[in-house]
């Protein structure tokens, strides 16, 4: 019962959703729309657990005075403050959450965090792109041409360079991507089938 019922629900939902895809009847489409909303609702409850876990972790860090405990205060105040602002004044454009917190705190932090990756990628590229083999040389040349072809200086060096970059992206790159996509799709389909048929049971966890 404790394992069979969840497995049965998983099997039924999996088969129903697979069949539903091939039935364009309004009832079938309506069922898909309804269950999509249900999934959003159930996922929202899972978010409560995730947020609860984060809050408990930081409260525990504070209580035990673990290294860096003061930063937990920053996280907790920011979390509660943003949530209250969002829940109290809404999330529509013009609300304080969007105008103050999103524009002046979240966007600068997010963009800066990803922008510094440019430096780390450059340093990683220096180590990885030393053309020791024929394959590494190909990778280096392709990356170099794409990067150069996407900036104005590339077009200034040679007018056709943006076209070369475009060609690399749309012909050999696309061919490699397609081969990888086939593998990803077959892997995802095999894993999904294993979940539906109850062969993959890791999600049930331990215990009875």
């Amino acid at each position: 019962m404790r394992r069979t019922l969840p497995l049965a629900i998983c099997l039924i939902m999996g088969i129903v959703m697979m069949v539903q895809f091939f039935v364009p009847h309004p009832i079938s489409v309506g069922f898909y729309d309804l269950t999509t909303k249900w999934i959003r609702i159930v996922s929202a409850f899972a978010l409560v657990l995730g947020v609860g876990s984060l809050i408990l972790y930081h409260i525990d860090r504070l209580q035990r005075k673990r290294p860096g405990w003061a930063y937990s205060i920053v996280t907790l105040i920011a979390l509660v403050g943003t949530a209250i602002t969002g829940l109290g004044w809404g999330v529509k454009p013009g609300a304080p959450l969007q105008e103050i917190i999103f524009k002046n705190i979240l966007v600068p932090l997010n963009a800066s965090m990803f922008a510094i990756l440019a430096f780390y990628m450059a340093s990683a590229a220096y180590r990885a792109f030393r053309a020791r083999t024929k394959e590494a040389a190909l990778l280096l040349i392709a990356a170099f041409l794409v990067m150069l072809g996407m900036v104005p200086v590339g077009a200034a060096i040679w007018g056709k360079l943006p076209d070369v970059a475009e060609w690399i992206l749309s012909v050999p790159n696309m061919a490699a991507k397609r081969a990888i996509l086939f593998g990803v799709a077959l892997g995802a389909i095999a894993t999904s089938l294993k979940v539906i048929l109850g062969i993959e049971r890791g999600w049930l966890g331990g215990g009875k």
């Binding site: 404790r2 394992r3 049965a8 088969i15 959703m17 895809f21 249900w38 999934i39 609702i41 159930v42 929202a44 899972a46 978010l47 947020v51 984060l54 860096g68 937990s72 996280t75 920011a78 979390l79 403050g81 943003t82 949530a83 602002t85 969002g86 829940l87 103050i100 524009k103 002046n104 705190i105 979240l106 600068p108 932090l109 800066s112 990803f114 922008a115 990628m121 394959e135 190909l138 040349i141 392709a142 170099f144 996407m150 900036v151 050999p172 061919a175 490699a176 991507k177 397609r178 990888i180 996509l181 086939f182 593998g183 995802a188 389909i189 999904s192 979940v195 539906i196 049930l204 009875k208």
Partner: protein
Amino acid sequence: MHISTDIWTWVAVILTFGIFSFLWKDNPFYKFCEHLFVGVSVGYTIALTWYNSVYPDLITPLFRQGKPLYVIPFLLGLCYFFRFIPKASWLVRIPMGFVLGWASGVAIPAFFQTNVIKQIQGTLLSPALFARWDVFLWALISFIGVICSVLYFFFSREHKGALKVAAETGIVFLMIGFGASFGYTVMARMSLLIGRFQFLLRDWLGVIR
């Protein structure tokens, strides 16, 4: 040069420098910004989830419009909290089974259609491609590239003879693909970096327009 007098611009500038300070080394200023980022992101997600999912998809239909069918996701969601009651913790598996079954069922035909059927359609040589020699040549190179790259991942037979030639050709395409993807990603990050510098020089210092 017109330095901004807006307090929130200064806040954004301080946070930008806080994150950039990690380039020097891990430091308290960066750690403050990092923890602030986590807190604000989670708080923002809570507000968005409430207004975009919980309120319109659960509160309104169940409690305002009185649609009894919405009791099902409500109860399924509540089952997640049984993990705090050891004797009934197995009930957590019910919403997980529902979500996993739903997602797997949706994924199988969707993945097959988008990542297999559509990609094969895009790879196949159609009569329309013969109209122009360059279009045909690129399509032919793409076709050979896909076949050879797929054959590289075929490990059920030893790579020798014709299979070795095909697999080695596949490596060429894969390496060009990885290089192109890397270059594309670097440029996307560079674009973000330029955006940050534009913010600092235009919105904060006012030295560029």
